[in-house]
């Protein structure tokens, strides 16, 4: 019943897949943001696990910076979301199609 790196990686992958499904599934932008947080956290687990099993702190450093980036992302993202909501009254992804090629 030894917990190996592989276990953590599989867990990380499963969480990542859940996040991925969320990203694809969600149309509400706020919900989409949640899904991206899941993605980030999934990778964080992988980093921390690798860091632990290899015995190298770099993994933790990456995870640390990811958390920092996630925080900024939320700040800016939510700001933009509010702007968008005030402008259109909706935060539905399907209606954001001004980039149509």
């Amino acid at each position: 019943m030894e917990v190996t790196l592989t276990h953590y990686l599989v867990l990380s992958t499963v969480l990542f897949a859940i996040g991925l499904i969320g990203v694809m599934r969600r149309k509400n932008l706020l919900m989409l943001f949640f899904a991206t947080e899941i993605l980030l956290n999934a990778t964080n687990i992988a980093f921390a696990a690798i860091s632990h099993y290899i015995g190298d702190l770099s993994g933790q450093m990456f995870a640390f910076f990811i958390i920092a980036i996630a925080a900024s992302e939320v700040a800016v993202g939510l700001g933009l979301l509010i702007v968008w909501y005030k402008r259109t009254g909706k935060i539905d992804l399907d209606q954001m199609n001004s980039m149509r090629g």
Partner: protein
């Protein structure tokens, strides 16, 4: 043994929480499950001996990020069910699972792990927080400072974007509106003494 039980327990909990986050149509459920999931993840960090990271995880995610989301949700009408149009749900799951399977396959195949050498080995006689601090303020000093600046910028950006006067902001108006606004301002300027 204890470690294994903890791992499986928290793994199950995290997966369940995040699945709820992704699948629910109630925004409040989602955010609650999310917050719970974040806390459960910090448990992994503690198991892995990354105490500092675990603490950060709880503080930043559950403290700051979730609070921000909670505030953000106040702006939107999220007490109702989130109505979303679902297109091709099967593709979503197939793709997600496929991606997961692929990654697992790559991870399971033991090719990568043999070649990795520790550049900044964990020192046995210092605690995790101390070790992290040593690496963070030596090797990663510049990125750390950059990250700090980035956070500051993000904070300012968040305030500016969500700030009150934003209905006057130029980024929000359509082109003709801007022109209109501009001329009206100019005329105000000329005509008015105020």
């Amino acid at each position: 043994m204890f470690e294994a039980i903890a791992f499986y327990l928290f793994a199950a909990l995290t997966i369940v929480m995040f699945t709820i986050t992704v699948m629910t149509s109630q925004a409040l459920y989602a955010i609650t499950a999310m917050a719970a999931g974040m806390i459960f993840i910090s448990a992994f960090f503690f198991i892995l001996g990354a105490d500092f990271l675990g603490a950060i995880q709880i503080i930043v995610y559950t403290g700051a990020v979730m609070a921000l989301y909670a505030f953000g949700m106040m702006f939107f009408d999220t007490t109702r069910n989130v109505i979303e149009k679902r297109t091709n749900p099967k593709i979503v799951f197939v793709l997600g699972i496929l991606a997961a399977v692929m990654v697992v396959a790559i991870f399971v195949a033991p090719i990568v792990s043999n070649n990795i050498h520790a550049l900044y080995p964990v020192e046995a006689n210092v605690g995790n927080s101390q070790a992290v601090g040593m690496v963070l303020f030596s090797k990663y000093l510049v990125p750390f400072e950059v990250a700090a600046v980035m956070l500051l910028v993000a904070m300012i950006a968040g305030i500016v974007l969500a700030g009150k006067k934003m209905d006057k902001s130029l980024t929000l108006m359509a082109d003709d509106q801007i022109a209109l606004n501009h001329t009206s301002q100019e005329s105000n300027h000329k005509g008015g003494g105020h």
